[in-house]
Symmetry: C2
Subunit: 224 residues, 2 copies
DNA sequence: TTGATTTGCAAACGCCGTTCGCGAACACTG
DNA sequence: CAGTGTTCGCGAACGGCGTTTGCAAATCAA
C-alpha cells in the first residue's frame, strides 16, 4: 500500500526517446565522480562538486541519477569494468587468485573502493560479468550454488578488507592508535598486549604475500 | 610543521579538575547515541538529535567529544563492553568461536555496528580488553605475533560481514537487486548466472551454521 | 568575596542532498 | 514553417548537517 519503489538504476533507460537530448551521459558523470574520489576521497564526491567539475548546475545531475547513492553504485560498477577476465584455465584456485589480485590492484588505484564494496555490495552490469566469470571458473566444481555465491562475496570482501588495512597504514592517524596501544601496554594491566608490542615489527620481507596465503586458505576451506 | 594533532579520545581526561562541573558524562552521551542508532539507524545519530534526546543544546556535546567521529568511536567501544570473557579453556578454537558467537549476537542487537566495525576498526579500552583476552586464548599457540593480530582482526571483520549480510536480507530493497539479477539472467547472455538462479533456494535448514563453519576453516587456515 | 576556570548553549557559517518551477531546446507532426 | 509534446538545464530554495564562536552562568580554591 505504500506505493511502488523505483527499480535499480541499471534498469532505468539512459536517455529518453523524445524531447530535448541530454548534453551529458551517465558514463561522463560517473567518470567525473571517480576522478574526484581518486583525487580527494569519497567525501569530495558531492553532487555540487561533481556538477561543478562538469561545468553544470547541481540540479542537473538529478536528470541522470535519482540519488547520490545511485552515483556511488555507478562508481562501483565502473571499477568492475577494469577487470581483464581470461578464459578459465581449468585450475579454479589459480583463476580465482588471479581475480583477487586484479581486485587488489583496482582497489589500490581507487582507495575509496574498499569501503564502498564492503558496505554496499552492489552488482551492476560489469559486476555481473565478473560474477559470471567466477561461476564459469567454478563450473566443474561440485560445490552447491549457494557456496559459490558465498565464495564470490567473500573473495571480494576479503580483498577489500586487506587492501583497506594496507592503505590505512599509509594514513597520518595510524600513529595515534598505536600510541594509545603503547600507553595501555605501559600501564601494566595487559601483559599479553605488552608482550606483543615488545616483539619487533616483522622484517617486512617474509610477510609479503599474506594476502594470497590467507585467501587461498579461505577459498579451499569454503570450496573444499 | 603542521602542528600537533589531538590524541585519541581515550587519552583525553573525562572531566576537568577545576571549574564548573559537567552536567553529563561521556557514558551518558554514548548511551543516548547508541539508543538512537539502535532505534533509527546510524544516520539518526546527528549531534543535534543526540543533544535533543539528552535535553541539551547541540554545541554542548563538543564539551565531551571533539568530533562526531569521536562519538562513533565511543559507541563502538561501548558495545565491546557487552562481551562476557571467560577464562581460556585450553581449546583455543572453541574459545575463539565463543568470542565470535558473542560478537554476532552483539551485532544483531546493534544493526549499525557491523558497518562501523568494518570501516573504522577502532580499539578503545573495552576493545583492548577483548584483544587481550584473545591473545590470552592464543598464549600457548606457536604462531607469530603478527598472525595472532591478523586472526583477531579477521575474526571481527568476518563476523561483521556475515552479520551484515544476514541483516541485509531483512531490508526492504533486497528484492530490487534480485529483480535485476533475474532480468539479466532472462536476457540470455549469462548462462551460469541463469543456471544458478534456476536452482531453488536452499531448504533453510541445513545451511544454518555456515558462519561457524567458515570461521573455523579460516581460523585454522590462518593459525595452522 | 574574589579570581580562575570550566560549562551550557543560542546563533551563525558553510556545506550538504534534494525539490520546485520554469524557460529553453529539440523531434515530430501537419 | 508553425505548432505541440516532451525532455533538459538549472537558479533558487528548503531543511538538515558538523562545527565554531562568544558570552553568561556555575563552580571551586584561596
Amino acid at each position: 500500500m505504500t506505493g511502488q519503489q523505483e527499480p535499480v538504476i541499471w534498469m532505468r533507460p539512459q536517455q529518453a526517446a523524445v524531447g530535448r537530448p541530454a548534453e551529458r551521459s551517465r558514463a561522463e558523470i560517473t567518470a567525473a565522480a571517480v576522478a574526484l574520489a581518486d583525487e580527494d576521497g569519497l567525501e569530495a564526491v558531492s553532487m555540487r562538486r561533481v556538477a561543478t567539475s562538469l561545468g553544470t548546475g547541481a540540479a542537473t545531475l538529478y536528470r541522470y541519477v535519482s540519488t547520490r547513492d545511485d552515483l556511488l553504485d555507478l562508481m562501483i560498477d565502473s571499477t568492475a569494468r577494469e577487470y581483464d577476465l581470461p578464459t578459465p584455465s581449468g585450475d579454479w584456485q589459480a583463476d580465482l587468485l588471479t581475480v583477487a589480485r586484479q581486485a587488489q590492484q583496482i582497489m589500490r588505484r581507487h582507495p575509496w573502493l574498499p569501503a564502498l564494496v564492503i558496505t554496499r555490495p552492489t552488482l551492476g552490469p560489469a559486476g555481473i560479468d565478473l560474477l559470471e566469470h567466477v561461476l564459469d571458473v567454478l563450473a566443474d566444481h561440485p560445490a552447491a550454488a549457494a557456496a559459490k555465491l558465498e565464495a564470490f562475496a567473500l573473495l571480494m570482501a576479503l580483498t577489500a578488507l586487506f587492501t583497506q588495512n594496507e592503505l590505512a597504514g599509509t594514513g597520518p592517524d595510524s600513529g595515534r592508535a598505536a600510541a594509545y596501544l603503547h600507553h595501555v601496554a605501559a600501564a601494566g594491566s595487559h601483559p599479553r598486549l605488552a608482550a606483543l608490542l615488545g616483539t619487533a615489527v616483522p622484517p617486512r620481507d617474509d610477510r609479503r604475500d599474506q594476502f594470497g596465503a590467507v585467501l587461498e586458505r579461505v577459498l579451499t576451506g569454503l570450496l573444499g
